[in-house]
Structure formats: structure tokens, C-alpha cells
């Protein structure tokens, strides 16, 4: 049975007339790496802020590690086991790396100093340097160290690789990919589709405040196909009225159909209409993302 660390039910957040999140129903599976994609303004950050109790939902409900996010007492319990790395890594700039680690450790009774020490080594952070003198990549690593030394059940990251150089990105992704082995579920938002495609087990795409896609990357690779067809004459309407069809693009006698359940049914119907199958190819996450969020203006 799947076990969820995040569940939202009809979650809404309105700022004045703006519906930042409008009826979000989302679930995140325990012990997996889940990527959270969406355009700017699609509701990613607002969703994360609601989950973390940084802003209150206008309506709807949600659970973080099985505890209600709208009940302050329950939410506090959940957040003891949740770590967060935000876009703006607000760290005490005047402290040195070593001081900040010791300072942070003093707040958490279950702080794992051996984890902190091994990450400090691994990330090669200069212990004596002041936080304000660290590069952006080092600051991100330090924030991650502070988060992981608590051995959280859930790590939420908001665009963790934003602004990092390629080497730092690689190191960060390596760290994230191994975390489920420690019992840490990873939920991270990103604009870097290829990063999500590499390390995520699952992807959630949010569009205009609603969940548009919730799939495992394996399902996308195994079952999603783009079928290019050529018809002898104008293709008949409604030929592909099938539940698994994600999109249809017609260009004269040519048609490109994206199916979420293999090519069998599409090929069969196409042949019944005397079409020639020109190509059957897998689709990648970028194509799926663009196909999902571009359809409407």
C-alpha cells in the first residue's frame, strides 16, 4: 500500500482576486523523490508555503505526514520531522560555518552530529568562513547540511539548483538521489525539467493552481507514446476519442497523437481509417510538460 507524506484536498489560496492555488488535490508518496513542476505563477511556491504553515489556505485541507496543516498544534508536530530549503537561503550571515552548525544544532534535540560532520566533509565547506562570504553553491550546501543533520522524514526544496554552477548542481542532485535510503522523502520544485527527469521517481505538474499531471517517470517512459500518422484524406473527427489520448495535433492530412497508454489502440484505429503509421516514439518530460501547460492561454 502506498503511504503519502503530503496530501491535499481541494486546497485553495486566494490573494485578493487572484487564485494562486485553486482546488489542488495532490499526493506525494513516502520514500520517493518527487519533482514539482509548473510555470512561474502556477502555484508551486504558494503550495509549499501552505504545506509549511507559512501561509494559511483560503479553503480546503491538507496533511503533512498525516497531520492536518490547518490545525496549528498538529502542524507543529509534523514540521518537527520536515526540513525545508527555500529559494532565499536565509542564514545568519555574520556567523561562520562552524558557528552556524553549532547554533542550529542547539535547537534540535535529535540533531545528528555525525551526519553534519560527514556532510561537512563531503561538501568541502570551509568551517571558519563567514556565511556572507560563501558562494551561492556553498550556501545551498550549508542549508542542505542544516536540513539533513536532523534526518527529516520529509525534505522540501524550492528550486534548489537555481543559480548554481553545473558542478554544484551535480553534487546537489547526487545528495538528493540517495536520500530515500535514509528514509527521507524528497519533494522539490524546479524549472529544470532535465534534473527532474534524472533523479525523480515521480513528477507532479501544477498548472493554474491545479494538479495537471501526477505520474511516475517509469509510466511516462514506458507508456507514453507519440504516434505520427498520415491519412489518405482529411482525418475523420472523433477517431481518437479514447481516455488515454493526451493531445492531438492535426496538420492537413498528418496527425500527431500523444497517448498515455502505449500505441496499440491508436494504431488499430488509424489503420481502420487507412492511415499510415509514420513514427512511434517515446515522449520526454519536456514534451509532456509543454503539452500540458501550453494548451491554453
Amino acid at each position: 500500500m502506498l503511504d503519502y507524506v503530503i496530501e491535499t484536498h481541494d486546497l485553495c489560496k486566494q490573494f485578493g482576486n487572484v487564485h494562486a492555488v485553486s482546488g489542488l488535490n495532490m499526493r506525494v508518496v513516502r520514500n520517493q523523490v518527487t519533482g514539482f513542476l509548473g510555470r512561474n505563477g502556477a502555484g508551486k511556491s504558494t503550495t509549499i508555503k501552505m504545506l509549511l504553515g507559512m501561509t494559511h489556505p483560503t479553503s480546503g485541507s491538507g496533511q503533512l505526514l498525516g497531520r492536518s496543516i490547518t490545525d496549528p498544534k498538529q502542524d507543529l508536530e509534523a514540521r518537527r520531522q520536515v526540513a525545508y530549503c527555500g529559494e532565499d537561503k536565509q542564514l545568519y550571515a555574520y556567523m561562520t560555518v562552524k558557528q552556524l552548525i553549532e547554533f542550529t544544532a542547539s535547537f534540535y534535540p535529535d540533531w545528528r552530529s555525525e551526519v553534519a560532520a560527514s556532510l561537512l566533509d563531503r561538501f568541502q565547506l570551509p568551517r571558519g568562513r563567514k556565511v556572507k562570504a560563501l558562494s551561492k553553491g556553498m550556501r545551498t550546501k550549508l542549508a542542505l547540511l542544516l536540513a539533513l543533520a536532523r534526518r527529516p522524514s520529509l525534505l522540501i526544496l524550492d528550486e534548489p539548483t537555481e543559480g548554481l554552477d553545473p558542478v554544484a548542481i551535480e553534487e546537489l542532485l547526487q545528495t538528493l538521489s540517495g536520500l530515500p535510503a535514509d528514509g527521507t522523502t524528497v519533494f522539490f520544485s524546479s524549472h529544470q525539467i532535465s534534473e527532474v527527469e534524472r533523479i525523480a521517481d515521480r513528477v507532479c505538474i501544477i498548472d493554474r493552481g491545479r494538479l495537471a499531471v501526477d505520474l511516475s517517470l517509469d509510466e511516462i517512459r514506458q507508456d507514453h507514446r507519440r504516434i505520427t500518422l498520415s491519412f489518405p484524406k482529411q482525418p475523420p473527427h472523433h477517431l481518437f476519442d479514447l481516455p488515454e489520448i493526451r493531445s492531438i495535433e492535426t496538420n492537413g492530412r498528418q496527425m500527431i497523437v500523444v497517448s498515455s497508454h502505449g500505441a496499440d489502440a491508436v494504431v488499430e484505429r488509424a489503420k481502420s481509417a487507412d492511415a499510415i503509421v509514420l513514427d512511434i516514439a517515446p515522449i520526454n518530460l519536456r514534451e509532456l510538460f509543454l503539452g500540458t501547460v501550453q494548451d491554453h492561454k
Binding site: 540517495g178 521517481d201 517509469d218 517512459r221 507514453h224 507514446r225 496499440d264 512511434i280
Partner: protein, 143 residues
């Protein structure tokens, strides 16, 4: 017991997964481990990298490697030993597979040779194979 997978730089050279291919990463990894066995790069008794180590080296989710290893164990190709990691099975299945593989490879080689003699280019042959592999009836994923 040898770990053959590490180059001097400490990176895994043998496994290269393509996140954009139309095949789950765990099954790509399974295929590459099988291929390494079939070609003799990995032999019975060889140790595979730990799940976490390999996941971090090739930068894929821990679950991807865990799934590949456990499926290969199910096939009798890999043995998972508690606390000491994953090993290539010492049983005959590995050898039988290896022979079958060479046999299949001979047939593919013969077919490609015939197509070349008919004048088809490398690129054309490549496309023919690619298109057939994604064709529904023969798609290995839905066998």
C-alpha cells in the same frame, strides 16, 4: 571478488542511463547489467556497487537501483546478501543467458549484414530497428 565498475576517477563508466529514452531507468539498468554479464565484463561472484553508491554515482533515484537489483535477483541473475551487497549469481542461469545472448547476437549480425548488402545505409537500418522496437505488438514492455 572484484568490483570492476570503477575507473581511476572513481566514476562508474559501465552504466549510462538515458532519462529520455522510452524505457524506465530501472529496466535500462537491468539491461546494462545483463549486457555486462553477457559480454563477460561482469562474471559470477563479482560484486556490484551498493545501491546507494551506484544511485549517487549515476545520479538516479535510490529507488531506481533498488528496483533493478531486486528484479535481477528475481530473475536469478543477482544475489542480494544482507549487509554485504549485491553479487552476480554463481548459478548456471548466468552462463545459459550468456550463450543465448551470443546466439541472438549472431542472428542480428547476419540480418544486418544482409540488409547492408541490399544497400541500406547504417542510418536507415538503425531507424528500421528503432521503429520496430516501439511498434505495439513487439514492444518488449508489454509482453
Amino acid at each position: 571478488m572484484t568490483v570492476l565498475l570503477y575507473s581511476n576517477s572513481g566514476t562508474v563508466e559501465m552504466f549510462k542511463l538515458n532519462p529520455q529514452a522510452g524505457q524506465p531507468l530501472y529496466s535500462q539498468l537491468m539491461q546494462q547489467i545483463r549486457y555486462a554479464i553477457d559480454t563477460g565484463a561482469l562474471r559470477a561472484g563479482d560484486q556490484l556497487p551498493g545501491i546507494r553508491t551506484l544511485a549517487e554515482e549515476i545520479v538516479v533515484s535510490h529507488n531506481t537501483v533498488a528496483k533493478a537489483y531486486s528484479e535481477l535477483e528475481h530473475e536469478g541473475i543477482v544475489e542480494l546478501r544482507h549487509g554485504s551487497g549485491a553479487f552476480i549469481a554463481s548459478r548456471n542461469n548466468v552462463q545459459v543467458r550468456s550463450e543465448k545472448f551470443r546466439h541472438a547476437q549472431d542472428r542480428v549480425r547476419a540480418l544486418i549484414g544482409a540488409l547492408r548488402r541490399e544497400g541500406w545505409s547504417e542510418d536507415e537500418i538503425h531507424r528500421m530497428f528503432g521503429a520496430e522496437l516501439f511498434r505495439p505488438e513487439q514492444s518488449p514492455a508489454r509482453r
